[in-house]
C-alpha cells in the first residue's frame, strides 16, 4: 500500500504542467478551444502552428498575463485555476498565484529586458526584491549564469549595447535567475537576424541537456524536430497534433501536412 502511494506521488511530481479544457475568447473572437496537454519534468515541448493560431495566448494564459475563461491549469501540483460546475475558470488566491508565478519563467520574442538596469541588475533585481535573497548569493548566481550563457563580459553593459542575440540570452539568464521549474519561450528567435538565431538555439539546447523543463513556441522546424521530445501543432485555436516529432512530421492530417509543407520549401 505504502509503496503504491509513493509511486503515485512520484508520478504526480513528474507532471510539471497540466492543462485541460482550456478556452479563451477575446470578445466574440474565440482564440483557444478545449486545449488539453501535460508537460512532464525534463520534457521539451515545441509548439508550432501558423500565426494567429493562439500559441502566444496559450503561453500568456499560463503566465497569468491574460485571464482564462474556462478550464484547469495546474503547475507543479498547485492549482492556478479550475473549472466550476458551469465550466467557468475560478482562480486560486493571490498567494498561490504568486507562488505559481515564481515557478514559471517566460522568455519573450522581443526580450523585454529592463533598459535602465545593466545586465547584471536585470538578473539580480527579481531574486533580491521578490525572493529577498541576499546580495551576495544573488550576485554569485548571476555571475555563474552569465558566464554559462557567454555573457560574462557584459555584466556591466546596458541592454542597448548588446546585439539581439546577446539580449535574448540575457533575457533567458534573467528568467533562470529565479530557478524556475518550467521555462516558456514565445518565438525566442523571431526578432533576431538569421545569423543570430543560432546562439540562442544553442543556449536552449544546452538547457535541454541539463534536463530543464521547457515549452518552446517556434517557427524553427529543424530545431523543433531535433530538440523536442514532443511537438504540439496548433491551428485556429485547437491542438491538432500532440506527439513525438516523428509522429507529427509523418502525420496524415491535412492541416498538419499543409503547414509543414510550407516549411520544407
Amino acid at each position: 500500500m505504502k509503496s503504491e502511494n509513493y509511486q503515485t506521488e512520484i508520478a504526480e511530481q513528474q507532471t510539471v504542467l497540466e492543462v485541460s479544457e482550456l478556452r479563451k475568447a477575446f470578445g466574440e473572437l474565440s482564440v483557444l478551444e478545449n486545449i488539453n496537454f501535460t508537460v512532464k519534468h525534463g520534457e521539451v515541448v515545441a509548439i508550432i502552428g501558423p500565426s494567429g493560431s493562439g500559441k502566444s495566448t496559450l503561453l500568456r494564459l499560463i503566465n497569468q498575463l491574460e485571464q482564462v475563461d474556462g478550464g484547469n491549469i495546474t503547475v507543479c501540483g498547485q492549482i492556478l485555476c479550475a473549472n466550476d460546475a458551469n465550466s467557468n475558470a475560478i482562480y486560486s488566491n493571490q498567494e498561490i498565484l504568486r507562488q505559481i508565478r515564481l515557478k514559471i519563467g517566460l522568455v519573450f520574442q522581443n526580450f523585454n529586458l529592463f533598459p535602465h538596469f545593466n545586465i547584471e541588475r536585470n538578473l539580480t533585481e527579481a531574486p533580491t526584491v521578490v525572493l529577498g535573497q541576499t546580495k551576495e548569493e544573488v550576485a554569485a548566481h548571476a555571475r555563474q549564469l552569465l558566464s554559462k550563457l557567454g555573457l560574462a563580459d557584459k555584466a556591466k553593459a546596458y541592454p542597448w549595447q548588446l546585439s539581439g542575440g546577446q539580449q535574448q540570452r540575457a533575457a533567458i539568464a534573467r528568467a533562470l535567475a529565479l530557478n524556475p521549474e518550467i521555462l516558456f519561450f514565445d518565438e525566442p528567435t523571431s526578432a533576431l537576424d538569421p545569423e543570430l538565431t543560432g546562439e540562442v538555439l544553442k543556449v536552449i539546447r544546452s538547457l535541454a541537456e541539463e534536463n530543464m523543463t521547457m515549452v518552446v513556441v517556434t517557427h524553427e522546424m529543424a530545431f523543433a524536430r531535433e530538440l523536442a521530445d514532443r511537438i504540439i501543432f496548433m491551428d485556429q485555436g485547437l491542438i491538432i497534433e500532440n506527439g513525438t516529432p516523428d509522429e507529427v512530421f509523418s502525420s496524415d492530417n491535412a492541416r498538419t501536412r499543409n503547414f509543414l509543407r510550407r516549411y520544407h520549401e
Binding site: F108, N112, F114, P115, H116, V130, L131
Partner: protein, 214 residues
C-alpha cells in the same frame, strides 16, 4: 534711485516667488502622479471625476482659479484663508493637472512588455511601478517637465492679483514709486536667473539619465 533699498526689496519678493515655486512643485508633482494613475482606472466612478478635474484646471484661466480660491473659502465656506495659502492651493491643483497629463503620456509610452516581464518575474504591481515603470517614465518626462517648471517660475507673478507680495508686485511698486522702468528690468533679470537655474538642473538630470536608451 537708491539701489541699496530697491534690491533688498526685490529680493524679498523673489524669496516669496521661490517659496511659491517650491511648495507648488512639492504638492503638484505627487498630485500629478496620483491623478495620472487614477486617470487610467477602469472604473468610471474614478475615471470620470478625474477627467472633469483635468478639464476644469486646464480649461479655465489660472488667474480665475487664483481668485476663486482666494474668495471661495471665506465667502462660501466661511473659512478665512491666507492669500499665500490660496495661491499655493490654486497653483498646486492647476499644475497637478498639467503634470498628470505629462506623466500619463510618459506612462503610456513605456512598452507593455516591461510591466509584463516584471509581473512574470514576480514583482508586485507596486514594485513594478516603482522599480520598472517610474524610473523610465522620469527619463521620458524630463523635457516636458522642464517646460512646466519654467512656466511656473513665471506664473508665480500671477499671485500678486490676489495680493501676494512677490517679485512682480515688488517691481511694480518700485516702478511707480520711482517712476522708472529699471526695477521691472531688474525683476526680469531675476526671473531669467531663476529659470537658468531650473533649465540647468533639468539638463543635468537629462545628461545623468542618458546612460541608457529606451
Amino acid at each position: 534711485m537708491n539701489y541699496s533699498v530697491i534690491i533688498p526689496y526685490l529680493l524679498e519678493g523673489t524669496v516669496t516667488a521661490l517659496r511659491l515655486f517650491a511648495l507648488t512643485l512639492l504638492l503638484a508633482v505627487p498630485l500629478g502622479l496620483i491623478v495620472a494613475r487614477l486617470r487610467a482606472a477602469k472604473s468610471p466612478f474614478i475615471n470620470l471625476p478625474i477627467r472633469f478635474y483635468l478639464l476644469l484646471m486646464r480649461g479655465t484661466p489660472l488667474l480665475l482659479q487664483l481668485i476663486f480660491f482666494m474668495y471661495f473659502p471665506p465667502f462660501v465656506l466661511d473659512i478665512s484663508i491666507d492669500r499665500f495659502m490660496a495661491a499655493i492651493i490654486a497653483f498646486s491643483l492647476n499644475y497637478g493637472a498639467y503634470f498628470a497629463e505629462i506623466f500619463r503620456g510618459g506612462i503610456d509610452s513605456i512598452p507593455q512588455g516591461q510591466a509584463e516581464a516584471a509581473k512574470v518575474l514576480g514583482f508586485s504591481p507596486w514594485q513594478t511601478f516603482s522599480r520598472i515603470t517610474l524610473p523610465q517614465v522620469i527619463k521620458r518626462v524630463i523635457p516636458a517637465s522642464a517646460n512646466e517648471c519654467m512656466t511656473l517660475v513665471k506664473d508665480t507673478a500671477l499671485a500678486q492679483t490676489i495680493g501676494v507680495f512677490e517679485l512682480f508686485r515688488a517691481a511694480q511698486n518700485t516702478t511707480s514709486r520711482e517712476v522708472s522702468i529699471i526695477p521691472i528690468i531688474i525683476a526680469g533679470a531675476f526671473y531669467l536667473i531663476m529659470n537658468s537655474v531650473v533649465a540647468a538642473i533639468f539638463s543635468r538630470a537629462e545628461k545623468k539619465l542618458s546612460y541608457y536608451k529606451g
